[in-house]
């Protein structure tokens, strides 16, 4: 009995871990290509889910069209934010500390802005639930029960992770994005359109966030505050090393499983604090995470 409980906890931990991983992938893309940590990542997830909900229930679009619409809209929001706000900040050479702080503060602002807008839309007052991508009776694997939606989540996460890894390793655009992050000046010198690259990275990341939102929303109650999932994604990314895409997925799964095991073995109260505890322990003991590159001192 107890072992069954543990197996179920591990299995559903892997599923929730994949959701964290998907959000973490969207954070890592931005970090890899612009060095910015996106504190609005959770709100982009939330926006994706709400655009989807609006498309499904208000405009009664089919599910596939809804996914496309949500991804495109959130892509545009992310890219626009980079172009309008972040580009203004990086483009300006003020004072000596032209560092990341203003950029990160701007993403905090974006998060509040999006949350504020969604909260004011009259549609969001009552708590709703997005229908799942794949409905149907749950599946049994031995004694472990999983929803069909869970399998879809795992599949999408793995596909997205593989596609991104291939993209960053083998395509010209992916290599250009990495070059942009490593040394923007040198990248610009060899003809990489740095500004466009940054915008593309934000758009790509936002699109993945929207996808994560649509997959996640059926499992959660939708509120404008569902962006707090971003902290779990941060934890997943930090476990993985913040620069590694496979690391993200491993980190997400580790976190999901650890959270469930803590809930089963220790106390359900401790679930909420697990990700933060994990962040602190990993950052203090092994800041480069499991698969990340060693932290290099910042170039002058």
């Amino acid at each position: 009995m107890s072992s069954l409980l543990l197996m179920q906890a591990v299995a559903s931990g892997i599923v929730t871990g994949c959701v964290y991983a998907l959000v973490a992938l969207s954070l890592v893309i931005i970090y890899k290509s612009t060095d910015v940590v996106n504190f609005a990542g959770g709100e982009l997830v939330m926006l994706g889910a709400y655009v989807g909900l609006l498309a499904l229930t208000f405009f009664t679009l089919p599910y596939v069209t809804m996914i496309g619409l949500s991804v495109v809209i959130v892509f545009a929001v992310g890219a626009l934010f980079e172009r309008v706000a972040l580009n203004t900040i990086t483009g300006r050479r003020y004072a000596a500390h032209a560092d990341l702080v203003p950029l990160v503060v701007a993403t905090v602002g974006l998060g509040y802005l999006l949350k504020g807008i969604v909260r004011v839309v009259p549609y969001t007052e009552e708590v709703r639930r997005l229908p799942p991508l794949i409905a149907g009776p749950p599946l049994f694997f031995g004694d472990v029960i999983l929803q069909r939606q869970d399998l879809a989540i795992v599949a999408v996460t793995i596909v997205v992770m593989l596609a991104l890894t291939l993209f960053f390793t083998f395509t010209r655009a992916g290599k250009a994005l990495r070059a942009t992050s490593q040394n923007p000046r040198a990248a610009a010198l060899i003809g990489i359109p740095v500004r466009r690259m940054r915008m593309a990275a934000w758009g790509l990341s936002s699109a993945i966030a929207a996808l994560a939102g649509i997959l996640l929303a059926p499992k959660l109650l939708m509120t404008p505050d569902m962006g707090t999932v971003v902290m779990l994604a941060f934890a997943a990314a930090i476990i993985g090393g913040f620069t590694s895409l496979p690391g993200c997925v491993i980190g997400g799964i580790v976190l999901g499983v650890v959270q469930n095991l803590v809930g089963v073995l220790l106390s359900p109260q401790a679930i909420a604090v697990t990700p933060f505890f994990v962040i602190m322990v990993v950052l203090l003991l092994r800041p480069q995470g499991l698969l990340g590159e060693a932290l290099a001192p910042k170039k002058v």
Binding site: G109, K115, A235
Partner: protein
Amino acid sequence: MYGPLARRSLILVAAILAAGFVLPLCVPVYFLYLANVLMMYAVLAIGLDLLLGWSGQFAFAHIAFFGIGIYGTALFDLRLGLPFVIGMPLAAALAGLIGWIIAIPSTRLRTVYLALATYAFAECAQWAFRTFDRITGGPDGLRIRPANVLGYATGTDPAALPVVAAILCLMLLATLYLMRSRLGRHFAAIRDSEHVAAACGIAVKRTKIAGFVLSAIYAGVAGGMYTLYESFVNPDVLGVAQLVLVLTMVVVGGPGSILGVLLGVVLIGLLPEVLRAAPRGLLVWQEFFYGAILVLAVMFMPRGLWGVIEERLRARPTASRRAPSSTSSASLRSEATQP
């Protein structure tokens, strides 16, 4: 110490102190409550600015130290019967001590990692306040007894204001002196360039830790001030929203400038009141406004409102005597950052 304090800073401090004693005589209670809140936020924001604007560290743990200040002061009074004048400094010292423990490992981390580690600490602290309910009262909150400051009972807004104002003035004076001290200069040097500071013989790590600890103490003191005019605290007060509010105050007002931060505290602190007074329930847009203001401020006012005001003042012909030196330093600065 590098020279005496400017007269205008002393006038500002004296004006705040006077306001603390005069306002309770002639202003409705609701405004006194606002004044208390703003003065408390002023200490909180100046403490955050010590880290963010002066020593250039991007840390989010501030709100946790604020919580330690509140719960520390309240519990020292409730459980140990320590009076405010002993309990509050003890709580602030406790915040500083915990800040020191956190600072030692986390000052190794780079900007963003530091932000995440300290943010995680803040969340852990909020969780602790919520979970250890036998000590803190848990999610139901904790009732705060009216403090007894050397025989003077606070607890209502009019009674608390003079004490709150006096504490703010003490903290302001301390900050003004700190900015002029060796340590203050070291903070600024590290903010501008860690490498150059280290090359000049400044102990970078130790100075960063000092900044962290001082900032935690400020937050602890702000927590003590909170217990003077509030009668109740629960862990929800110590969430991210509060932190973002203080961050907005610093960023909008002017990081690295005391007057700027005070300006930010007043403007952002009064925003909900303005929205409440405005027609058609603009209050629901509050979150949106905070977000928009934050984004616009970092976009167009890198040195906050105070930076804009300073530039305007400098551009006036009366300041022509100082103009050449300032423009030359500005051009030097822009050359230094250009490739």
